[in-house]
Amino acid sequence: MNKQKTFYGTLKKSLFLLLIPIASNHIIAQDDESNNSNTEQNKIDAGNISGNFQVLTQFYQPDSLIGAKDVPEDVLMNGFLNLNYNRGNFSAGIRYEAYQNPLLGYPTGFKGQGIPYKYAKYSHEDIEVTAGNYYEQLGSGMIFRTYEDRNLGYDNAMEGFRVKYQPFAGVQLKGVIGKQRSYFTLGQGIVRGIDGEITINDLFKNLKEKKTKVLLGGSFVSKFQPDEDANLVLPENVGAYGGRLNIIRGGFNFMGEYVYKINDPSGDNGFIYKNGEGVLVQTTYSTKGFGLSLSAKRIDNMSFRSDRNAALTNLMINYHPALTRQHSYNLLATLYPYATQPNGEVAFQGELIYKIPKKSKLGGKYGWTILVNYSSANNIDTTGISGIDSTRQGYTSEYFSLGKVYFKDFNIELAKKFSKSFKAKLTYANIAYNKDVIQGKSGYGVIYADVVVAEMTYKFNSKNSLRTELQSLTTEQDQGDWATVLLEYSRSPHWFFAIMDQYNYGNHDPKKVLHYPTISMGYNNKATSFIITYGKQREGLFCVGGVCRAVPASNGVSLLITTSF
């Protein structure tokens, strides 16, 4: 323990001196001034350094049965270190990343190492300025959102400047300008954006104490990319704007946003010049033991990237909130998860949570929690412009009409604590999944599947517990039926051991009726953890918030080390 403290102490001092020359100068000046007084010296505020580190290494073995390919390097690794320095109103930081080489399933563009993220930020009274890299979101993100998700291999960070300014109480302005990260370089396009948000209640004295709060917001974002195309006149500046309204009263919350984008021919839309638009409406109500949320969304031709030729998840300026439930159980989460379709989608979601109270007739001693969720996504109803389309509009669409089914998910979850030592959760989901559209494949059509999951946790005592998951996915289509069994033993606060088997018992091809066993164990010590896993990973899809990454089949040993300080 003491060794660890000493190591971090030394690390902090070394990195501080190496990385923050401006701050160091400032400290030296303070030191000089404070030489006159020991008391003053004791008051030196050198700021603080924080950060986190992660490395994930996998040793791969080929396995022709599950389709795990031979990896020439045998071992692949993804890793990063975040370092942040903070002193008063000033902060700065870097992130070093290394992919030697990227793990299977991650974009190969990451191959290499470097410092793709570095920033300095200063705030003073009503203004905050960031230089370098930053993540930002305007409104719901439908015309601008930059963020990072390490598990997805997604990072569209801006590099440039950001200014946040509050000219009056209740008025918040943001301005961003820069280029987006593309692996270890920057995209060609320049992105500019401005956003204003007004909290109406803060503008007028007589509204300040009102229970109903109203927020209004508006954004404008544009991108510049030179036109180097010999065959088309491409717009070099493409603008998008949006307006939003948020009303909050007690447990009730309403949010609505409308966005519009002018002609943005790109690889995503087949270089059509049709304008894009999107609308998102979300309403939630919650009170003790009860929650209800209803959402609807329609997007039409709203892919927006800072490089019109980019593909996959590269250089996306905007983000479309997924109106589907984020499942966590293995079969539900990775076999048929939904990926939002920015070219056109009409989606709805409703979710109800109700807690049957403790000590009631139905609830028993500990009560029940019931969650019912339904979501659907369809294509917009389009009619292609046949024959003459001299302005390359591509298609027309009916606003209040639905196109073909992309996704449906009805799921219900019952959670019950039976005693101090035993609790259980039962989940049922019925899914319709258009694999051709969502995964860009052909010949699969819409797959219908039923999933049942039973999760049980038994606590032997305050330190030892056993959690088990029994999962079943049944479908006549695609790879047929699956079952998963998971046993996870935890000995808090340090250890866990898990064994899991996924079994594709219903595959129509007898050669593919296979087991995918894995065993793993982990050790946690405060902010540090080690997890080692050995086994077979089946091919699948990993999605977060409607953004997905293909996960190829693999076989081998992986080691994950994370720590923060």
């Binding site: 000219p167 301005g175 300008i177 500019r192 544009s222 021919p265 001299s390």
Partner: protein, 287 residues
């Protein structure tokens, strides 16, 4: 107030959009920064009469086409500026014989092929007169003897829109800048488009006439290119009094055409029916 002014000024830097009404480049022209347009030609006024575009579909290996051209040339002479003739080469009769010394010139165009396909033209000579419809949204294909009668019918229709062409030409750089202005005299009930042709007159080349191969036939009014694409660019409004100006560039250095014999033809047509409601022409240069 000062804060608001600062915000407005800063915001204005972020607002920039390029709305593209014509996605297709007009000849991918690179204009030298020091270009001098030393010549200009304008079209004759057409604000009172509906002008007529006779599009004659022909081919240099079409044995009956020279006879059709006689009809076209006669109309051209008789009606002066009010009827504009364009010869569009296409179909199998426009194929070439490379390396033979005969019929080596390819007179076909992308636009011509698009029209032949869209209007279902197979046998030639045939013509369209302002792309008059047959009542079922099909463009009527008329044999040469019927052209003049339809010309008269079209000329009798009201003039709903006027077109002015202003051409500037750089003799040294061989660059044409053409400005097409339109103004609505009556409100149009549909949506409309503008198409701009370059045609070349008096090309001497091979032509089959009956059974005779003529080496030095004079080809009249040959369509060379639709410089804003086959189906043109949008006319944004058609209410009475609405005006529109569109500008296109064309680089003659990239072509072997004789610019002195070239003419800009601009017409406005109903995007639904394809019927042409006004047309104008102006020579590329005054030489």
């Amino acid at each position: 107030m000062k804060k608001i002014l600062i915000i407005v000024i800063i915001s204005s830097f972020f607002i920039s959009c390029d709305k593209v009404t014509n996605p297709y480049p007009s000849g991918n022209v690179v204009v030298p920064t020091d270009v001098v347009y030393d010549d200009s030609v304008s079209s004759s006024p057409n604000s009172t009469v509906r002008y007529v575009l006779l599009e004659e579909y022909t081919g240099h290996k079409c044995p009956n086409c020279p006879a059709g051209a006689v009809y076209a040339n006669a109309i051209d002479s008789a009606y002066g500026d009010t009827v504009i003739v364009t010869s569009i080469h296409g179909t199998n009769f426009a194929s070439t014989n490379p390396g033979t010394g005969m019929y080596e010139t390819d007179f076909t165009t992308e636009a011509g092929n698009d029209y032949i396909s869209a209007f279902g033209i197979s046998g030639i000579p045939r013509g369209t007169v302002n792309r008059k419809n047959d009542g079922s949204n099909n463009v009527e294909l008329i044999a040469p003897p019927g052209w003049e009668n339809e010309v008269k019918n079209q000329k009798a229709l009201p003039c709903d829109v006027k077109i002015d062409i202003k051409n500037w030409f750089s003799t040294s750089d061989k660059i044409l800048k053409t400005e097409i202005s339109s103004e609505w005299l009556n409100t149009g009930a549909s949506t409309y488009k503008l198409t701009v042709y370059i045609i070349e007159d008096n090309i001497i080349d091979w032509q089959l006439d009956g059974a005779t191969n003529i080496p030095n036939y004079r080809h009249r009014h040959v369509l060379r290119k639709a410089i804003n694409s086959s189906w043109g660019t949008d006319i944004p409004a058609s209410a009475v009094g609405s005006k529109d100006t569109q500008e296109f560039l064309f680089d003659f250095k990239t072509e072997t055409w004789n610019y002195e014999n070239c003419i800009v033809v601009a017409y406005i047509y109903d995007a639904t029916t394809k019927e042409i409601i006004q047309v104008a022409e102006a020579h590329v240069s005054s030489h």
